[in-house]
């Protein structure tokens, strides 16, 4: 869950920063405004037993938020992402850059600069 020591740069896409299930859930939350738990399991095609614990973790880590709604006789969680995909990317990038600068100091900053020029 975007912990610097858990980042795996050899993984594909969002799974560099999230577990595969977390990545799938965050993707559907970013693509949709609000979703019920049953809609998340349907859209990700992941069973509830795996989704439930992951949703608890995403809420605790403040990537997702939820509210309880009472529709008729049924109680439902309504989930949404706490921030847009771009803002999340920004937060992750900042965290990684901070870590690189903490470790390598001026060398890291010099590299960012030459990297920017080459792009």
């Amino acid at each position: 869950m975007v912990k610097i020591d858990r980042i795996n740069i050899s993984n594909e896409g969002l799974t560099k920063f999230f577990s595969p299930i977390e990545a799938q859930i965050m993707k559907v939350l970013w693509e949709n405004n609000e979703l019920m738990t049953s809609e998340i399991t349907k859209k990700t095609n992941i069973p509830l037993s795996s989704v439930a614990g992951t949703l608890d973790r995403l809420v605790k880590a403040d990537f997702a938020q939820r509210r309880v709604e009472n529709q008729g006789q049924r109680v439902r969680y309504i989930y949404s992402a706490t921030t847009t995909a771009d803002n999340a990317a920004n937060a992750i990038t900042t965290r990684i850059l901070d870590s690189l600068v903490d470790t390598f100091g001026a060398v890291a900053i010099e590299n960012f600069s030459s990297y920017k020029k080459s792009k």
Binding site: T37, G53, D56, R66, V68, Q73, R74, R76, Y77
Partner: protein, 225 residues
């Protein structure tokens, strides 16, 4: 400075001059006999009973010894007596109060805030019980002390009849909760494998089946697999 040798000499002198010597000797022999039996027996219930009996006999012997004391150097016995009193208090009273700790730990809220029928339904099965819900997507329900705790995840996946089956199951635990925690505590203290859980769960299921029928109970169970 605590001297064990001084304590033993003090103990021997005081007890030798006391009329309670035969009673103290008897209680110690009983305690040793029960403790030996506890070490040898394999039957869980015999282990629990013999351990509790050995402890009680030793407490009796200590109390009798205490009353014969004319010197005040029995610190180790005082410490042991304090341990017995505190652990007995914890064993007897903590299970009944533990649900209050759980309410805080889970930040639980009264279920009446989101489900209007649950309190009435459970109170018909177990008087003076309280039902709380807590914030988790993982379907979970459990009972402690006077309270039943249900996660929002469980409220999400079950319909009313299935929830009634779950609540009736937990209400059975509330009705019989006065017996099980003490046995559980004793089994921990005596290092005895005491596993009545499966049996208790089956009895709770049978009770739920009587209240709501087999269908809702089975469909609730199927949703949790």
């Amino acid at each position: 400075m605590i001297s064990i040798a001084d304590e033993i000499i003090c103990y021997a002198e005081c007890v030798n001059n006391s009329d309670l010597l035969p009673l103290i000797t008897f209680l110690i022999v009983v305690s040793l006999f029960l403790f030996t039996f506890y070490l040898k027996t394999k039957t869980p219930i015999h282990r629990v009973i013999s351990f509790a009996g050995a402890q009680l006999s030793m407490v009796g012997a200590i109390a009798a010894t205490f009353s014969t004391m004319e010197c005040s150097r029995m610190l180790t016995i005082e410490v042991y007596l304090a341990y017995v009193l505190i652990s007995t208090g914890v064993m007897l009273f903590l299970p009944g109060l533990y649900y209050k700790i759980l309410i805080r730990r889970h930040n639980a809220r009264p279920i009446s805030e989101i489900v209007d029928w649950a309190d009435d339904f459970v109170n018909k099965l177990a008087n003076n019980s309280q039902i709380y819900y807590f914030d988790s997507a993982i379907p979970k329900a459990f009972a402690s002390g006077k309270a039943i705790f249900v996660s929002v995840g469980m409220l999400e996946i079950f319909d009313q009849q299935e929830l009634k089956a779950v609540l009736a199951h937990e209400a059975w635990h509330l009705r019989h909760n006065n017996k099980t925690p003490i046995l559980r505590q004793l089994s921990l203290m005596t290092f005895t494998k005491y596993r009545p859980e499966q049996e208790l769960e089956l009895m709770a299921d049978r009770f739920a089946e009587e209240i709501v029928g087999k269908g809702p109970l089975e469909s609730a169970r199927a949703k949790l697999i």
